[in-house]
């Protein structure tokens, strides 16, 4: 028994660590590890993974929330979309065949790999892109006194390596919901704005669906929604995603748990391992840019996606 529990713990420790570093929740690694390495049925793996994703989120997001990286208002608002999607996904997972789930999982891994590769060139922020010479609402920008902000104060200097055109303004809906915020920079809080809430929420509902259906945190889609669509800085998106995946996966896990579909023998050591790995991984994320590991991670994702795809196609 000890050998089985220890191997499950070690496998999950690695998945939780890597998942927290890349903000993807660990499920995208855990499900293939359980199915391809330990030969578990994919539905069992999905149920266990959902539980572990909750543990990952609880472990990793606590530090981000405390340190001010997580945008709580964005998370709370978008959780409506992700939770609804997760409930639909978890319900669908109960009726789809294992091969369909494996095929969909392979697709999810390829999407994860592409998005991870895309993030390689990022350096902490993603700039909003208004029309050249215009504000986001189409009006001409006010001209402040040379070398001064509109309110007469001296302009803040952007943190080294960050984009100069990152706008701290939000669009109308985001401003009404007071979603804009700031994150801890080297020279004090760095303000940022939030835009395109509704398209972001639509993508979030897809992320929720993927989470409930495949047992993953769908952090890649969440980060994409906040970073690329809503214009949040990358590290804020990653931290907010880590926070949100707990509720998204929790919604799916509740369906599985109430259905009696969580294998306690596996879920216990896996949850412990993933939580421990996530705790360590979240500290690494805050302190490093992990560019070195990113390419290796992409190769791993694509290799496992190919294996999952092959299994779905052949049933082997």
């Amino acid at each position: 028994m000890l050998a089985i529990a220890a191997s499950l713990f070690a496998l999950s420790l690695g998945a939780g660590f890597v998942g927290a570093i890349f903000g993807i929740g660990g499920g995208v690694l855990l499900v293939p590890a359980l199915t391809l390495v330990l030969h578990m049925p994919i539905r069992v793996a999905i149920g266990v993974s959902l539980i572990s994703v909750v543990a990952t989120s609880a472990g990793a997001s606590a530090a981000f929330v405390r340190d001010g990286w997580t945008n709580l208002r964005v998370a709370m608002a978008l959780e409506v979309a992700t939770t609804a999607g997760a409930l639909l996904g978890a319900s669908l997972a109960g009726v789809l065949s294992a091969r369909v789930l494996e095929g969909l999982f392979a697709v999810a891994m390829v999407v994860s790999a592409i998005e991870t590769l895309r993030q390689r060139s990022r350096d902490g922020t993603s700039p909003a892109r208004p029309e050249r010479g215009r504000n986001l609402d189409g009006t001409s920008p006010a001209r402040p006194e040379r070398g001064r902000n509109l309110d007469g104060t001296s302009p803040a200097r952007p943190e080294r390596g960050r984009n100069l055109d990152l706008l701290p303004t939000s669009d109308r809906l985001a401003a009404r919901l007071r979603m804009g915020g700031s994150y801890p920079g080297q020279n004090g809080p760095v303000p940022y704005g939030v835009r395109r809430v509704l398209p972001g929420a639509a993508l979030m509902s897809v992320a929720g669906l993927a989470s409930g259906l495949l047992g993953i945190g769908a952090g890649v889609l969440k980060v994409m929604a906040m970073d690329s669509v809503m214009g949040l800085p990358f590290k804020v998106s990653s931290a907010t995603s880590n926070f949100m995946i707990g509720v998204t996966a929790g919604a799916g896990a509740l369906v599985y748990l109430a259905r009696g579909d969580i294998a306690t023998t596996i879920a216990a050591p896996v949850a412990l391992g993933v939580a421990a790995g996530a705790l360590v991984g979240s500290r690494v994320l805050v302190r490093s840019r992990v560019r070195v590991l990113r390419m290796a991670f992409v190769v791993l994702l694509l290799a496992v996606a190919a294996q999952m795809g092959w299994r779905a196609a052949t049933g082997g």
Partner: protein, 129 residues
């Protein structure tokens, strides 16, 4: 929502998350220790049954396998630990709803209440499905 409410959320949310995680971890470790000390063979049998369920038409509905370990001492601790872990999101959303209510931030109180309602709907869906 003022600075005080934001501080409240940022201070207590991590505590709720970590507190529930620690409680869950203690329960899960205790459950595994009890099983290891009393009926390790039941754990191994349950694990092996899951391995063999891969090719079954049920595609691994673990509810049919969990019963192998259901009456083993320690399993109740495992189930409680997993339940505590799953309730973590509910606890932190409920806490946020209370903070928004205290701040009279009605829009976010409504949004967090809706998330809570959806989470409870998940339990109902699981029971029905």
């Amino acid at each position: 929502m003022g600075l005080e409410d934001d501080r409240l959320l940022r201070t207590w949310t991590p505590r709720i998350l970590r507190g529930a995680l620690v409680a869950s971890a203690i329960l899960l470790v205790a459950g595994l220790c009890v099983i290891a000390a009393t009926e390790p063979h039941a754990y191994v049998a349950s694990y092996r049954a899951l391995e063999h369920a891969r090719g079954s038409t049920a595609a691994g509905r673990s509810s049919s396998v969990n019963h192998q370990i259901a009456n083993v001492p320690g399993d109740a601790l495992l189930v409680t630990g997993l339940l505590v872990l799953t309730l973590v999101p509910i606890a932190r959303v409920a806490f946020a709803a209370l903070v928004f209510l205290r701040a009279r931030d009605w829009v976010f109180f409504a949004l967090t209440s809706l998330v809570l309602a959806l989470l409870f709907l998940g339990v109902v869906l699981g029971r029905v499905g």
